[in-house]
Amino acid sequence: MAHVVLKDLVKTYGSFKAVNDVSLTVNDGEFVALVGPSGCGKTTTLNLVAGLIPITSGDIVIGDRVVNDLDPKDRDIAMVFQNYALYPQKSVYKNLAFPLQMRKLPRDEIDKKVKEAARVLDMTHLLERKPRELSGGQQQRVALGRALVRDPAVFLMDEPLSNLDAKLRVQMRSEIKRFHQDLKATIIYVTHDQLEAVTMADKMAVMNGGYLQQYDSPARVFAHPVNMFVASFIGSPAMSLIPLEASTANGNSVLTGAEGWSFELSPRNAQKVARATTKKVVLGARHSTIKLRKSAVPGAIPAKAYTVEPTGDVTFVQAFLSGAIVNVSVPPNIAVAPDEQIWLEFDQERMHLFDGQTEMALKAN
């Protein structure tokens, strides 16, 4: 196993910058998820690490080697593809044996390793089958087996679960996580599904528009998003982002909504707002940090319930404030009807404030 370092990685196609100055370090044995919407550059980044496409500038270090100009085969990596990329003309056994044959291992050693991998992944009975005779989940396992049979320095996974149905995906998710825990493998995992990233990864790198937005543990990314993009991308349902106007009244910092309501900020939040480059401030609040009241209480903001979505465990209520959708979760025993008058109370301790101009999170100091 080995660590991976990306330094100022750039990939351009003509004038289009697919990957922009991405720098990050994946420590030995770490599970890192590259996450972002489609077209954000995460798969390109992974292909650069794999060596499948040449880098424009920057450095890639795997273990202690700079691998910029090495062929994929010389980088000591294994990759699991979204469509599994199993060799259709080869049996499962031969699929698993292929990477070992290419490395010219003796026949009996290949046989031993293939059978060991098959045993670990519980597919000994499938060895003679062709990939097309397997279910999606089984194909996925073979792809995983082909990666681990070789004991590479780094595992690269490109959306390995997105072709599976929902139930199998959850199952394979825990299998891959278990696989990581058992092997202490270094894994770089690309996904567009923030839930996969949050549940599996030690660290997540959130990308957008070819730029690395934030690189931190899922808990910290969730609790301290650096900007509005990360705030809205991580977490489901998405964080509500409400554009407001900052002003001062009687020496106190106040935020005012488009409907005319306003509330006074705590000293700490006032400090944050004071650092904004503009009067426009965006309030970010996760559904669980907003309290829904059925009657007016001091500090609560009046709104009308727009839609009500019971999910069993919780009920999500949507309302409009300042032209933005606000998501609130309430226990299922609280009945809210659409168009009912409600009051929303924001938690000053847990709210996020963003600069309306730069979209960056505002910090107290």
Binding site: P72, K73, Y87, P99
Partner: protein, 296 residues
């Protein structure tokens, strides 16, 4: 089909009858097509085993009174001058067609792969330029190519024919194969390269076997095209010992106008390799032509 028909409710029977009607029309059409193509072949076979006199009789003998293999014996006998000619023509045709086939596979496979996988300046232009030749009737190029071959000093060589057949066969071969490569996910090669293969090994070990049906179809196409070609062979070759079968048989026809059994035997033997090739490999051919029609 049959089980659904049995359990189908009454209301569907009307529609089924209409479908059956079309199916029968199709079958009758196919029978006519079969007669149209098979009868001349059968007549060729019957005539080839007649004696020279019986072949000229009218009304014709539907089945020869005295079937004989004399014509075949004569054509395949290296001691006989007719046999010498025929065997030489046969060998010439085989040589030209085989070399054409091998070269066209050698050129078309990498060309199609490059068109499918790499993006390079002028890719689309080149790809359509490849087809340009096929937009004109072959005869148009007869004189220019004749002049070109003379300039190259290739007149009266099999090389002139091989070059010409390549220019005719390659465009379709490249298009056919590109369709194949487009359908092979690029991730397979990427996986192979990560698994330890060089780019070339990934192509040879993973992509080539998957495109085998396309390569076989391409090969059949080139072979048949070269085997049957007449006009260029007639124009470029004048020496008797270099002629290919189509021209050789035509010459045979004008020299021995009355020897119909011999002519038919020669024609039949010329058709056999093509028919056999096609029958043995036709499933690849069909697959190659329909590949890319549906997404897998």
């Amino acid at each position: 089909m049959s089980t659904t028909a049995k359990t189908a409710p009454r209301g569907l029977s009307r529609r089924r009858m209409r479908v059956d009607g079309w199916r029968w029309a199709g079958r009758i059409f196919l029978v006519f097509m079969l007669l149209y193509t098979a009868v001349p072949m059968i007549w060729m076979l019957i005539t080839s085993i007649k004696s020279g006199f019986a072949a000229m009789q009218f009304p014709p003998q539907w089945w020869p009174d005295e079937p004989t293999l004399a014509s075949y014996e004569k054509l395949l006998d290296p001691q006989n001058s007719v046999g010498q000619d025929f065997l030489r023509f046969f060998w010439n045709s085989l040589f030209v067609s085989t070399v054409t086939t091998i070269l066209s596979v050698i050129v078309a496979v990498p060309a199609a792969y490059a068109f499918s996988r790499f993006s390079f300046p002028g890719r689309n232009f080149l790809f359509f330029a490849v087809l340009l030749r096929n937009m004109f009737p072959a005869v148009i190029f007869l004189v220019p190519l004749f002049i070109l071959m003379r300039l190259l000093g290739l007149m009266n060589t099999h090389g002139s024919l091989i070059l010409t057949y390549l220019t005719f066969g390659l465009p379709l071969a490249i298009w056919l194969l590109k369709g194949f490569y487009d359908n092979i996910p690029v991730q397979l090669e990427q996986a192979a390269r990560i698994d330890g293969a060089t780019r070339f090994q990934a192509f040879i070990l993973i992509v080539m076997p998957l495109s085998a049906p396309g390569i076989i179809a391409t090969a059949i196409y080139s072979f048949i095209g070269a085997w049957n070609e007449y006009i260029y062979a007639y124009t470029f070759l004048t020496k008797n010992d270099q002629l290919t079968l189509p021209v050789g048989i035509q010459r045979f026809f004008s020299e021995n106008t009355t020897d119909f059994p011999g002519l038919m035997a020669a024609s039949l033997m010329m058709s056999v390799p093509v028919v056999v090739l096609f029958l043995v490999l036709q499933r690849y051919f069909v697959r190659a032509l329909t590949e890319g029609a549906v997404k897998h």
